[in-house]
Point group: C2
Chain length 312, copies 2
Amino acid sequence: MTRKISSRFSGGFLSGETFETYLKRQARRVEVALRRHAPREMPSDAQIGKAMRYSLLAGGKRLRPVLTLAAAEAVGGSSDSVLPFACAIELVHTYSLIHDDLPAMDDDDLRRGRPTSHVVFGEAVAILAGDGLLTDAFAICTNSSNRRRVPPALVLEFTNVLAEAAGYKGMIRGQALDLAAEGKRLTRPELERLHLCKTGALIAASVEGGAVLCGAPSAQRKALANYGRLIGLAFQIQDDVLDLTADEKTLGKTAKSDLAEKKMTFPALLGVEGSRKAARDTAERAVASLKKFDRRADPLRALARYVVERGH
Amino acid sequence: MTRKISSRFSGGFLSGETFETYLKRQARRVEVALRRHAPREMPSDAQIGKAMRYSLLAGGKRLRPVLTLAAAEAVGGSSDSVLPFACAIELVHTYSLIHDDLPAMDDDDLRRGRPTSHVVFGEAVAILAGDGLLTDAFAICTNSSNRRRVPPALVLEFTNVLAEAAGYKGMIRGQALDLAAEGKRLTRPELERLHLCKTGALIAASVEGGAVLCGAPSAQRKALANYGRLIGLAFQIQDDVLDLTADEKTLGKTAKSDLAEKKMTFPALLGVEGSRKAARDTAERAVASLKKFDRRADPLRALARYVVERGH
């Protein structure tokens, strides 16, 4: 009987599973759950429900919710229980993409290989669809059905971690630093701070959040949050490299948009090769912060390396 | 000793207090707490912190948070404990004003007697300031300091009521119905549904939320939510009347903006006098839904009448 432990509680890779298969398996669970949590379209809603679904169900890697599941498993928890919360994080991520793409912000036309929300639905609907996704993320977190699986105090703690990461001190400040930096030359610490807020905060919350929901001790939470910030940074460095070197089809969004928008990037500071090395080093520091975790953290280790190897 | 009950636990009007004095007293408490909860400005934030404070601390009646305090007292709870949550509601309200005023939405230049956020700070910052206020509202609700005063399960329940009211099924849908209605003639039920979502949902959540945080029984919650929806509707009818009949100085925002924007209004359906009567009738229905409450609900009763008498 002891050999027949349910896979959802053992965590980590299944026997013989590659990282790619693991990623697909977890992303598929997220996809199914997202369809359940996406808003039902309502009549006379000026297409807002449709716009919310359009952006939320546009595919994508589902990196953040997969991180939440992987973190829950890494601390020995149940990834089933954290699935709705993982979806809430993807709603927050999707809202941030819709608002970042707006004409008043980065003015991007293409995202995940499709026209951006405001191109399809107009600005007013895009703003509201973003607002709706952000708000509904908190409705999902605090929904009474979750409280059967996770104690209220842990749900509250998770929701606070998410709100702080998405709020003025996190993503909002990151976007602000980004706006303020337009056309300016930043130092490496300034550029890192920008991305630690803009991308790192939500990724860190995705990882830490999984551990929080499972009641993990503070040392594990801190190690995972640190891991999250570092892979967030590595991800961004690699993103900057890909923006310069990949074509639009591979990227699924407008290529060389950073140059066009006169954005400060890591390649501008460190060159392409120097940036690739910085991404790899940052990913290895992320892996190092997991040294006290057992093999159930192997997917997180593999993910750190995947982040800097994608797109080649 | 029994005569020396602390005023904050007795609730309702203080001895000899008029409704105007009550409103000022509660609004002042809210104002002090809001200053504590408003974001501290941070360097290189592209003025986003400043923009958040600009809109949040622009005065206003603080009707929603005062309702939360009044509801807590009406069910015999402590309005001190609910003060941070009342502030969170005002953050959500302020976010909705900033986004509603954007050029892509209602394109309003004046609000609470001052230029709107996007006029002062530009569109990008206004969008982000709204996003920041909305997100920080949930950070305030779930902050660990609250859990000392209110049990986690009740905090969660409140946060869910707030998120549902602000989300796709509430305010977002209201704004959507508003966009979809532009230039169209609506029936009275359609116009009421629009405003029950757009204004009523958050007002109802403000009242119900105060009761939820104090652990009030379901019948009291329902009665208060119903009261909230009705005064929200009465408030909107009166707003439509004032938009037609008052001047800009009294209004603090652009007068006759409904006509300019070809918005469907209650006066267009019922005439000015008919609308005034509808507002009064709706307010009386709100008062009637409080019949099982004792004198501690007197401020709520007075408030329902105040809502339809203001501006004369």
